[in-house]
Subunit: 504 residues, 2 copies
Amino acid sequence: MEQRIQQRMRDKRLQSKIVSEETAASWIENGMTLGLSGFTRAGDAKAVPSALVEIARQKELKVNVYTGASLGSDIDRLMAEAGIVHKRLPFQADKTMRNEINNGDLLFVDQHLSHTAESIRQDVLAPIDYAIVEAVSITEDGTIIPSTSVGNSSIFAEKADAIIIELNLSQPESLEGLHDIYQLQDQGNREPIPLRNVDDRIGTEGIEVDVNKIKGVVVTNQVDSPSTIVPPDKETALMAEHLVDFLRKEKDSGRLPRNLAPLQSGIGSIANAVFHGLLESEFTDLEVYSEVLQDAVFDLMDAGKIRFASGCSITLSESKLDHVYQNLEKYSERLLLRPQEISNHPEIIRRLGLIAINTPLEVDIYGNVNSTHVHGTKMMNGIGGSGDFTRNARISIFATKSIAKNGDISSVVPFVSHVDHTEHDVDIIVTEQGFADLRGLAPRERVPMIIENCAHPMYRKQLYSYYNDACERGGQTPHILENAFWHTRFQKKGTMLEKDIQLT
Amino acid sequence: MEQRIQQRMRDKRLQSKIVSEETAASWIENGMTLGLSGFTRAGDAKAVPSALVEIARQKELKVNVYTGASLGSDIDRLMAEAGIVHKRLPFQADKTMRNEINNGDLLFVDQHLSHTAESIRQDVLAPIDYAIVEAVSITEDGTIIPSTSVGNSSIFAEKADAIIIELNLSQPESLEGLHDIYQLQDQGNREPIPLRNVDDRIGTEGIEVDVNKIKGVVVTNQVDSPSTIVPPDKETALMAEHLVDFLRKEKDSGRLPRNLAPLQSGIGSIANAVFHGLLESEFTDLEVYSEVLQDAVFDLMDAGKIRFASGCSITLSESKLDHVYQNLEKYSERLLLRPQEISNHPEIIRRLGLIAINTPLEVDIYGNVNSTHVHGTKMMNGIGGSGDFTRNARISIFATKSIAKNGDISSVVPFVSHVDHTEHDVDIIVTEQGFADLRGLAPRERVPMIIENCAHPMYRKQLYSYYNDACERGGQTPHILENAFWHTRFQKKGTMLEKDIQLT
């Protein structure tokens, strides 16, 4: 056996278990349920799922696929094209799979990312036959050291009938020591989670398993798919400015300390841009308690702005990846990767008092948020962790551009076409126009705040017109239900914009 | 001073602070913010708010009123009639106040009951000038012993500029020892809450305050308003049967232990009836971790079914009150009353793995729930604690009758007219028709389950017709937005029912 494999696979009992990805994939039978490692393209099982897609050309195969979050390496696309997925949860972000979902050909359970592990523990999902988990190494006693994400790997490994490890030689060995694996007991028999600060280490450095459950080890050598983040543009830069402006006001008023509160940021370009905004700011000693650690987190570390970052995956752009991997030992003192039910746990989110920053598809004039469904019906990616954080954060912020499709869609509407986050949970809305601070406000106080500070000027009159007409009918939350969905106008006329609005 | 007052007001420093309710009320100035004790009619401040309403006849007065939850003694009605409330939060249940709110004359912030204390701590609400708190006694060192509710009294007393105590001689002294007051530190400087079991005592027996902050003590003698629960009827009894049936299946499958998991039950007749259903069941050693402890909890204790109940208030019907008060010492070994941010805390709810049972106004075919807004606009009472529990429970259950207004309203609709609980958080729906277990199901799997098991037969064809037409358009969550709100048909035609539905 190659020396570099020996070095990474230190449990000698596993030497006889090295198999090809084809062999491992051949164990998977029709109707089984797989738990794959992988969170926002990072640390995903790559070889075995790809081999499985090949095998499916020869035999009838439908499986349930559970993951941490989205996969990379086109795995979701390949599986969707092959039509081998019966049920998928808790998150995906692939165009082909999205189409399958929206055609009704694939069952997608859009789950809070902290809930999957509990659902498995509570035995309300189909039980997992194989956990297929990428590792950077396996210790002398068979402990699995995950690679660039932890996600749901530890609960999958704990609960699966058998485990297949993808030992990925392309992942740097220096990832070892970066993980903090804390496994929760069953509800009703559970201690408080002893995490008081973002940098508290509370668990083990790897996933401890019964080594007899490890059925095979597949040696792989494929790097993570890079993130697809587009750089900040004029609007996202403005949003970042408004957000920093809000945080500064909180600090100046004494509501937040000098280094704010631990920050969570959703995935994607807007959230990344907003984090980049902190680069230009006066804030230092920042702390991050989030899911995905994206480029901006490392930029902020390089600039001495972030003291410590806790996440459950590291997802980087192509240009950033080399830099981070080469300096991993330097970063490792200021990083921890945890299981997603710990990174997203309500207990910790409330205790630490996080500032949660997420990206909606649309918001309404009362502060309800749609994060998932285009025009109320078609799934985009999924709610992800936005609900976990929003529901329990100290300050929950949603940042979006005020218009889309050159202005034919307003991101501020009378009534969102799907509700993922309710008015009760949304504190701050930010667009390139400004921010609306909704805390402590009744619905009728929120409306002018959102229209004036967040809606695009081209839609303000139209929003006021709707609201004024609705107020004629009264109510805590005035509405004209028959006109509430501007999405139907867009579907018929190609634009949400009405001409010649008369303000009553 | 009367002996029975001396006995209850054991801090001698306070003797000079005894004042009439009129004097205490005269201290309250226009524009002030009041924090009143009271949770679901229990332990509410009664005398000073009533006196305040009288004073308001002579002078300009508008105040903000924060409470635990709903008040009794017609206080909300009197305040609404006098027009003295500018902003009210986090919950109310009074008809007159509701009208004021829906007319837009009174600002109502419909807040999760666990959030109010955090909002005050975070300094995002107008600061509290006077905490007006009912007490059963005051100890030698000035510790305030609350009466039949804790609610938000401890945070109000901690943060208010000054405190007025209503020492209520009609409340039994044997309530002393029943409370467990645990005060949270600021976020970022907070320990795990050390509560592992429903009967864990983690705090003090009363509210410890700086005695100099106590500006006045008003001696009162008015009993709590009794609850207005109507007895179970045929439908609520059936709902209870279905719910017990569900719980039995969970136990039989090994998902839940023999004594289930700690139960939370919302307020009102349906929730009370459902709890009554457990009386006839085989379950024993049950535990309750809830907000309000209603009649049924005590019936279940009498029947030896409930081992221990933790709540934040005791609200009883007239007939039950005498019985409970006379046997309080017996019950007291099996009861604790906590601040509402502890009874409703996400950390505890998730750790204990509660079974949460709440009452919606309506549900939709995908499992979204409206708890607050009649036809999407008019406030009923408020979200209360239903969000706190639903969002973090082990199993979140919503129980409602399948129709209202003799069938002109279906409680199962294509799209709820307001969303308080999203599809991501709703596990089980119960009506008199049966129950739908939505756990682990994709939206398209949920629809037939909800229609067949929960919708009234008179609406099933119409619901299928909507859904089938929507599926033609596709999507993860198929909808026809222009027909989604059946409420507009009700508003025009007086019924949601369509004649001559053709199923496509």
